[in-house]
């Protein structure tokens, strides 16, 4: 299974969406307006993004540019005021179940052990119990959680909690994984470790990943395309292809000219200082 996943990755190494490839997420001319007491707030304006199956797309932008709103639209947790969102070719109307979602906070049930938090996904979906257990053990091993199966969330560090949330989001092998600043609350070292793990998970599972982040380096290291958004009303400023191999060594990747090109371009677009980590 990992072998197969790696092969699909080598196909998409170019970074751009190959013509004719199956679409994972398609956002077409989407606008979102919130009605507050005194005035209407436009959170998103004229946003169009196409993501092919197996891509890793990072969305960066200043605070309040509607990055999280975009993820909620894809998940079907929010309705666009105009435009359409398609997930795997199907128009999104209501919460979608064929996704995994990771928030900035781990959002774990504090009365459940790490393992049982992951298994919540299986219980809600009425997945076969033994299959779910086996898959949980697999994921926990993959994310370095072996040995912490019975630990309660408050007994785990922030990084470990986020790993549990990640396992929960991957348990049902969703074709699309949505991550909303998942590592934003972690310290720099833990974040680095989790970035390395994310790159491996992406290659091993072949999941399409949409990652919202504030970190320019994280976006360039992980993604094969970076969507840069501009401030209110949020709209797509530019989409940057990241021409790097799928398998990325952390330090070596950061030293590459392509990495510097991408991060510089993103920083230019965001304006000086705006995205200083």
């Amino acid at each position: 299974m990992p072998g197969k996943a790696v092969k699909t990755v080598s196909e998409r190494e170019g970074g751009t969406v190959a013509a004719g490839r199956e679409s994972a997420v398609s956002i077409e001319d989407v606008a979102v307006r919130f009605r507050s007491r005194k005035r209407d707030v436009t959170a998103l304006h004229d946003v169009s993004v196409d993501i092919a199956m197996g891509e890793f797309v990072a969305i960066v932008g200043p605070s309040g540019c509607g990055k999280s709103t975009l993820l909620k639209l894809v998940a079907g947790l929010l309705k666009p005021s105009s435009g359409a969102v398609r997930l795997r070719g199907e128009r999104v109307a209501g919460p979608r179940h064929d996704i995994g979602y990771v928030f900035q906070r781990a959002a774990l049930l504090e009365w459940r052990s790490a393992r049982r938090n992951i298994l919540l996904q299986a219980e809600m979906r009425k997945m076969p119990a033994d299959k779910a257990r086996a898959r949980t053990a697999e994921l926990m091993a993959m994310t370095g959680l072996t040995g912490f199966e019975d630990a309660l969330p408050h007994e785990l560090s922030g990084g470990m909690q986020q790993r549990v949330a990640l396992c929960r989001a991957l348990l049902h092998e969703p074709p699309v994984l949505l991550m909303d600043e998942p590592f934003g609350a972690l310290d720099a070292l833990t974040r680095e470790q989790l970035n390395i793990e994310m790159n491996r998970i992406w290659r091993e599972t072949g999941t399409t990943i949409l990652l919202v982040t504030h970190s320019v380096a994280e976006a360039a290291y992980l993604a094969n395309r970076v969507v840069v958004m501009s401030e209110r009303p949020g709209t797509v400023a530019e989409v940057i292809d990241v021409d790097l191999p799928a398998e990325r060594d952390y330090a070596a990747t950061m030293a590459r000219p392509e990495f510097a090109r991408v991060t510089n371009r993103v920083r230019d677009l965001l304006g000086a200082g705006a995205a200083a980590d």
Partner: protein, 288 residues
């Protein structure tokens, strides 16, 4: 899997897991003593002061009986006092249980229906403002001297903290958890049973602790207004006869009932929500 991947996977976080000892029996006993000795010392001091006041004849005996006389009376009239004590306990428990069932149900309905909440909440608040003692006589007129009015007063007085805490608990659920549940395809029943309800329990239990002590008050108030049984009756009788030792004995037993019921709720909380108790314990030990 790459070398780098294996390495990071095998090594836990920089911060790792928070160390927490699983205490042995001896340690738990020492912990218990450590927690108990201060309030126990204060209690002993109060009794000592009470004893000193009476022993030194600072007050007349008929105003404040000595601790000795009170305890002696408790022994002599053990049958009489325990009979009335049981009546009060029974009324309290029945009132408390009804308040919990009705309160929790009302809270769930109010949280799930905004219309019901808007209709019911102001009325609940208004009902809370009416002094229960003032309406207790009405229940005696309606229901007579039986157990009914006592239970109703206990229910009325214990109901409010149950509803308030349960509503707060059900609303305190992490909204992201609810969104997550929606992406899992969970039905409303599963979301309630697996997420909302367990998340609300710590709030509910803080309300239950208030409610159970209030239920004792409610039962006794009911007895004051009209009864021929229960500790409220004992105290009224003793008051009429200027039998202060019996008055004090009644008060002691009443307080004991309140303390024991409170302890029962707290033990139930520890057994049902070990995750919550352990987290709270951790928070206390990390404080100054």
């Amino acid at each position: 899997m790459t070398d780098q991947g294996t390495r990071t996977a095998a090594r836990p976080d920089a911060a790792g897991v928070v160390e927490r000892d699983r205490p042995g029996a001896g340690e738990r006993l020492r912990d218990g003593l450590e927690r108990i000795w201060r309030p126990a010392a204060l209690l002993v001091a109060c009794f000592a002061a009470w004893w000193a006041v009476t022993a030194l004849d600072l007050v007349e005996d008929y105003l404040v009986p000595s601790p000795g006389a009170t305890l002696e009376l408790l022994g002599d009239k053990a049958g009489y006092i325990s009979h009335h004590g049981w009546v009060t306990t029974y009324e309290t428990l029945l009132g408390f249980l009804i308040a919990v069932v009705v309160g929790v149900a009302a809270a769930v309905v109010m949280v799930y229906s905004a219309t019901v909440e808007r209709t019911l909440y102001p009325i609940l608040l208004f009902a809370q403002v009416i002094p229960k003692i003032a309406i207790a006589p009405l229940f005696v007129v309606w229901l007579g001297f039986g157990i009914g009015p006592k239970i109703i007063v206990a229910v009325l007085i214990a109901f409010f903290p149950v509803v308030i805490s349960m509503v707060a608990g059900l609303k305190a659920v992490d909204p992201e958890m609810i969104e997550l549940s929606a992406t899992m395809g969970a039905g409303p029943l599963d979301t309630f049973a697996k997420i909302r309800l367990p998340a609300s329990l710590p709030h509910l239990f803080s309300g239950l602790k208030v409610a159970v002590t209030l239920a004792v008050t409610g039962a006794v108030v009911g007895e004051f207004v009209g009864s021929n049984e229960g500790l409220g009756y004992v105290i009224l009788q003793a008051n009429g006869n200027l039998d202060t030792p019996m008055l004090f004995a009644g008060l002691l037993v009443m307080s004991a009932i309140g303390v024991v019921l409170f302890a029962v709720v707290e033990i139930a909380e520890k057994l049902l929500l070990p995750w919550h108790a352990s987290r709270r314990g951790g928070a206390v030990t990390t404080a100054y």
